[in-house]
Amino acid sequence: MSRSGVSHLLSPVFAAGFFESEAVAIVLGATIGLAALFIYLGMSTQSTTGATVSILFGSVFAIAASTIPLIVLLGLLVLAAVLALYRPLLLSSVSPEIATAQGLPTRAIGAMYLVVVGLAAALCAITIGTILSTALLIGPAATALRLSKSPLRAMLLASVIGVASMWAGIVLAYDSYAWPPGGHTWPASFFVVSIVLAGYLLAGLPGLLSRRRAARAGRAPGALGVGAQA
């Protein structure tokens, strides 16, 4: 793993997975260690246990109205960055070799993309929690890519699926006030993530069925099914 990681990092053309490796893991470990420190300090000086849980698992109902302008600003910033980077980012994501051959600075693009992901991740984290924000970033996009291979359509579809999951999750959380144990709503994050997962599995169904049919018909299974990467 380590050796392949080194050759991975040293490879000048491999831009798509360039920042994927030990560097990410090291930073993840370090920051979670830092989180442990902050939580410890917080617990020994004030009672922030409730805050910890709401940061980890999200608290979409508890977002203060005063933070909305900042959320809108960050959201627009991310969208503007993606718009500005769109073509080179798309090319370097789909085919890093061609992007490099065309003289695109794939590493710089990868770095800028990582910053954009960071901002988007922060936005997701404030809504459905730091742990579950991965589900919101990956889930709707993965579902959309199962349904459409056209970039713009997949992006639009991912946004629509994300918004629909969020709305449905919020409605269910609102309704769950009447559910057991009663007197409390269930976490909206739970519903959102469950809906995202259900959507992902459902989107894989056509590909699965067509591969089954192909296998039964005697052709090679899983040749180019829509859900082949799953």
Binding site: L10, V27, G42, I68, L70, L114, A121, A122
Partner: protein
């Protein structure tokens, strides 16, 4: 409730657009690590009474930059493991020392580690 709807909608659109590239590039690990790393920022923000979102955003940005820095430093140095561990180690020590210093307002015990050459 209305706030929740607004925020959820904005965030979901942003997540869909950015997530598309994340899936395309297969960088789900970074997309997982950055918000979890940003948790430290949120915890720190709660600790000092600052905005949670600002803490999250600051640490997610910082995390992204450190990942880029480590990856680039590692790829350009011939002595890969040494540069890697000294670079990341001193970054962590520096961050921890700063956090402690800001909190305690006196020199942190970790401070000398930050003086290591990168």
């Amino acid at each position: 409730m209305v706030d929740a709807w607004e925020v959820a909608s904005i965030v979901a659109v942003v997540a869909g657009v950015v997530g598309f590239f994340t899936v395309l590039r297969g960088s789900a690990f970074a997309a997982h690590a950055l918000p979890n790393g940003a948790f430290a920022g949120a915890a720190g923000a709660v600790l000092i009474g600052a905005s949670t979102l600002l803490g999250l955003a600051a640490f997610a940005l910082l995390g992204a930059l450190v990942i880029v820095w480590i990856a680039l430093a590692a790829s350009y140095q011939t002595d890969y493991p040494v540069g890697f561990f000294v670079g990341s180690g001193s970054a962590i020590a520096y961050a921890a020392a700063r956090a402690f210093a800001a909190r305690r307002r006196r020199p942190a015990p970790e401070a000398p580690i930050a003086a290591l050459p990168t």
